[in-house]
Symmetry: C2
Subunit: 370 residues, 2 copies
Amino acid sequence: MIEKLVRDRVKSLKPYVPGKSKEEIIRKYNLNPEDIIKLGSNENPWGCSKKIKEELLREIGNLHQYPEPVNPVLMEELGNFLDVPRENIIVGGDGADEIIDTLMRTFVDVGDEVIIPIPTFTQYRVSAHIHGANIRYGRYNKKKDFKLDVDSILDNITERTKIIFLCTPNNPTGNPIERKDIKKILESTEALVVVDHAYIEYSKDIYNVTKWALDYENLLILRTFSKIFGLAGARVGYGVANEEVINYMMRVKPVFSLTRLSQICTIAALRDREFFFYSREKGIESREILYRGLKKFKELKVYPSEANYLLVEIRNDMTSGEFCEELLKRGVIVRDCKSFEGLDGEYIRVSIGTFEEDRRFLEILKDIVS
Amino acid sequence: MIEKLVRDRVKSLKPYVPGKSKEEIIRKYNLNPEDIIKLGSNENPWGCSKKIKEELLREIGNLHQYPEPVNPVLMEELGNFLDVPRENIIVGGDGADEIIDTLMRTFVDVGDEVIIPIPTFTQYRVSAHIHGANIRYGRYNKKKDFKLDVDSILDNITERTKIIFLCTPNNPTGNPIERKDIKKILESTEALVVVDHAYIEYSKDIYNVTKWALDYENLLILRTFSKIFGLAGARVGYGVANEEVINYMMRVKPVFSLTRLSQICTIAALRDREFFFYSREKGIESREILYRGLKKFKELKVYPSEANYLLVEIRNDMTSGEFCEELLKRGVIVRDCKSFEGLDGEYIRVSIGTFEEDRRFLEILKDIVS
């Protein structure tokens, strides 16, 4: 009886496959927490700012009160960090996922179109599908280290195109999109171009095209506290765009979704710029260690990356699932890429670890691959 | 240019008007935090369990990791609290609001119908509107202390009815819906009946019809940690329904929306049953104090309530807005009910305070009304 009530879109939905959590692996393989090396979810292996603790304790006394829908202290700190006015920022309480959902709620009617070059972050597709969009796929070109195929975007633009998702550096491939290509797309369409900068702080320029949001009417920059700030567990993401876009989005954004404790975490993290730059420096170093280490295995092909992870192609007779299972047995969590549409072949994604984790991981790899 | 991209539904949306936050009032009226009496958002004036603090500190070291999408410890504690299997529970990371949104995403296609008796919690309407539903309004009958008019529901059921929202005790009126009326509606339709029990712990029976969710295929019970558990700032709500409903909803629920810290808060709160029952006893006593106190003002009509707030009709020549403004100047935040559709007249909603806050509020009232 219930099935009759359910939307057809939901019946046909492939659910999002998240990276495995540490807790899950500990339970499944009966391992010690200390033995787990988690390189599966692009997290910051150095944790988060130590200054959060003190601030958090102060806030416990306010937990019974609803959060402020817009926290002015957070907006000010974030505006300073980005050097953009707070009127151009929207903050979400479920990481960038909430901003993506809010974009759909603001712009996408059933039958409208969304362009997604693949392989890329799965959530664009999931959210678009739930909200009734028709999805047109562009591509990142495997033969050119997954460089964006700009024509694959331009050729898909129609009168019903509402949103185009560009991820730079792209997840899970790690490659950046060139500025001139973003510009070309922005100027070829009236659709909203969403540039996902979730990993931008690990690339050459931590701001990249963020400030273009002040100049282009149809650009939204997506950013997050889940990566370099080390706050994936607090679920805070944000968008930067012109005021009109922000104002429309605020009408449909969940009002209270950003918890009191997450607001505090974010403010404290923004004030600890030292930890931020420490994470960036160490993170880039860790990526280089892994890149050099992985390159030595002749059965693996590792792609260059400007993010905090590396895409690795498995070129022996193992599937990515078998490969991941072998690693899991030895306490290493990496991401099996088979849930990413548009990746033909066998791929895994390896996130940066502490230098010690990198070393142990590369050592463990020798058991599995040559 | 952007306006052309925005959905018509968003252009016509009346945004949700939340109760005013303490921080906002402190800034606006330049008051001391200690002088504010916040009776505007149906929060627990005794805060939350003191046991949360210690647990929270332990979790800070995990903040850089994504939360588990479903926390098995939380599910077990919640299952024990409700005495229902965990397969019948869905937990949301933006309070009951997320569960309401998830219901829409699961069941409502554009043009489907949702029945909402008014006056009631505004979020049902807002979420339904965003998701393209046509809303049919039933009513709580003012002439009978806002008792649900069952026929106003039954008469609105059509072949396109997907969801019927019943809030008991109802917000902002405080009255319960009789079990026989819920039963009659459940058995008159194949649509999903959502019974919102956000305030049920302050009524005569803290479970009320929760367990009916195991027997009826088309019933979802909505509950929350924001009220008696004193965790409005942590944004955790949940639904109880048969497994089929839960499984469909899990396909479209935001995957990571429940933060690590909120998971910890909820587990610790569920384990402190002493604080729970303390809050219930004190809360009901506070409601009685306010009810008796408010009844003495001949210019006010106070309605009986089984929740942690009281609906009050202003029967002098002041509007509810003017009345609230006078209270705000004196540091008291109550809820102006003019944003609730279906309330003709001038109403405010007063939440329970500590006994001392109740006393000060009733004293301050004498300045404003006779």
